[in-house]
Symmetry: C2
Subunit: 335 residues, 2 copies
């Protein structure tokens, strides 16, 4: 199974480590022998038709901050997605919710040349889920994206595989760990500004924190869930969205008096999609604190089910890529 | 797909209702056309080689409290499990943790005559999981039991299907709703005796509540999880077990002062199995109240994941039987 990996940030590097550590069990248990034939970061590419040396790849990346130094030859970078033979393309570039680029074009190129795609990049899916899914079906390959929602927590798999014969009728979720952390700190008495500072200090908020606090990140995840789980054909434009920037300490304290919390809740109910601050009872299983994510699915016969986990993390998200890879392998037969 | 249903309590009747309501979607989506050829309760049997009329079966059961009045002829009851042709045997008799009977003998008879078995009866599995699983493998049929843990909440499916490529290293859970309700009421100030009374009044505690409060029910579920998820070969004798009968209000209040709760926690860690009252932080996702169940799985790469849901209920448990039925269908091909 030949892979092209595009994007070598924390998730990409964690995935390489995971491949190194799991190579034995992957082959024994699932018959997968992954070969990374190309690896691309913002500065260049490492390429080997027979498979890159993953240990070397990691150490080159660490030492020179780019995989381009993997060898002295400069591989042909032009139209590399189309021109390199591979079964799976991994799109791990940063999320861009305005244009979806470069992820969107990458995914389209890969699908058009009959490559299965695994992405942890929410941008392309938030903007174009229905058409990308159609493109993958047309080309008879798979598009998978477990890591886009819940990090390593298998939220999408749970909804898709664990409730067979039943029907999910609606769901609500806390889908963004950064805002949940900020709101938790505010419930402990910090102002929004101070809570944000602590979140940044702890590494829970990235440089571009506005995507989190405006509700964009949660809205992108909501769109992915609504398409995949409910079969809707929607994009991020269809989400009513309000962030947490105007939440005051007084609002939070007022809620606390009634044993309630204010949470940034994403909801999919009766074809309405929304992300907005909402009041949640302390006793509701969805009322998790800190950076945790939580989703409650309401189903026709089996009741309400909540799944809770860390919504981010390099190794956690890398483990979701591995799950997608196994699913692709189980659907096709590749050595 | 021909079914024999043994046991027509709340779960059995809910399952019949579910079959009636889902017959269209079951056929369209999964190609399943279930025919209930025999249905047995403690007073007799209804039988039809071409399939019972399910609406009639339900109304007969309701009117006469037994399915034996389904027709005037008395079908041959002797060795019915061996003698009736069917693809799936449903064991829905009450749990007996001392001898496992009558469920244990029923399951053995069914497996020996190459019938797939779905059970919601914990007794046979708690006492003989490893040997029953061996028997099913030897006879090349499936033994499934999703409803034994978590009611309708797909705890076993989650662990088995949602974390591919990863490895669950340990788990803890609140596996018994009755004791969780009692402990919740005690944290609100009621004594054990009063909390038990309320639980009985609300229908959360059955006649034989000692199985709940002694920890036996949770231990049975723990055994099922340890065998199925971790691959251990254990029975209920291998569980260290302490119930909640000696928990005092003072203990609970002492914990509350530190923002902690006392919960009946089942744990599987490093081959040790235990069920005992334990102190849990309010902020831990597993710290659910009322009749809820919760399980936290610790995995090697994807972190901790908690799944929460109602641990009981007729229709909820019936939905888990349907899931098992679909899984069996997907593994064999039956019209």
């Amino acid at each position: 199974m030949r892979l092209i990996i595009c994007g070598m940030g924390v998730v990409g590097q964690s995935f390489i480590k995971l491949l190194i550590n799991s190579s034995d069990s992957l082959y024994k248990k699932y018959g997968i022998r992954p070969r990374v034939v190309a690896c691309i970061d913002s500065n260049g590419m490492a390429f080997s038709q027979t498979g890159l040396d993953l240990e070397k790849l990691l150490s080159v990346k660490e030492k020179f901050r780019t995989v381009a130094k993997y060898s002295d030859e400069k591989p042909n970078f032009e139209n590399y997605i189309e021109n390199i033979d591979a079964e799976v393309f991994l799109e791990l570039t940063p999320t861009n919710l305005i244009s979806g680029e470069p992820g969107l074009s990458n995914i389209i190129s890969a699908l058009r040349t009959q490559k299965n795609v695994i992405t942890v990049n929410k941008g392309p899916l938030a903007l174009s889920f229905p058409s990308l899914m159609e493109l993958s079906e047309y080309n008879n390959v798979m598009l998978r994206f477990s890591g886009t929602v819940g990090g390593g927590t298998p939220v999408l798999e749970f909804a898709k595989h664990c409730l067979k014969g039943d029907k999910i009728t609606s769901f609500i979720g806390i889908l963004n760990g950064t805002t949940n952390y900020i709101l938790t700190k505010m419930s402990e008495g910090l102002t929004f500004e101070d809570a944000l500072k602590v979140a940044k200090m702890k590494g829970y908020a990235e440089a571009n924190v506005s995507l989190d606090v405006n509700g964009d990140d949660a809205a992108a995840k909501l769109v992915i869930m609504a398409n995949w789980i409910m079969g809707y054909k929607v994009t991020i434009k269809d989400v009513y969205k309000r962030g947490i920037t105007d939440i005051k300490l007084e609002d939070i304290n007022e809620a606390l008096k009634k044993r309630k919390y204010i949470k940034l809740i994403a909801m999919c109910d009766n074809r309405n999609l929304s992300v907005q601050p909402s009041i949640v009872s302390k006793d509701d299983p969805i009322c998790v604190n800190g950076t945790l994510n939580a989703v409650t699915f309401k189903s026709e016969h089996s009741g309400d089910q909540t799944i809770i986990g860390k919504g981010a993390g390099g190794m956690e998200t890398a483990s979701s890529i591995l799950r997608d890879l196994i699913e692709i392998k189980e659907n096709f037969s590749m050595p």
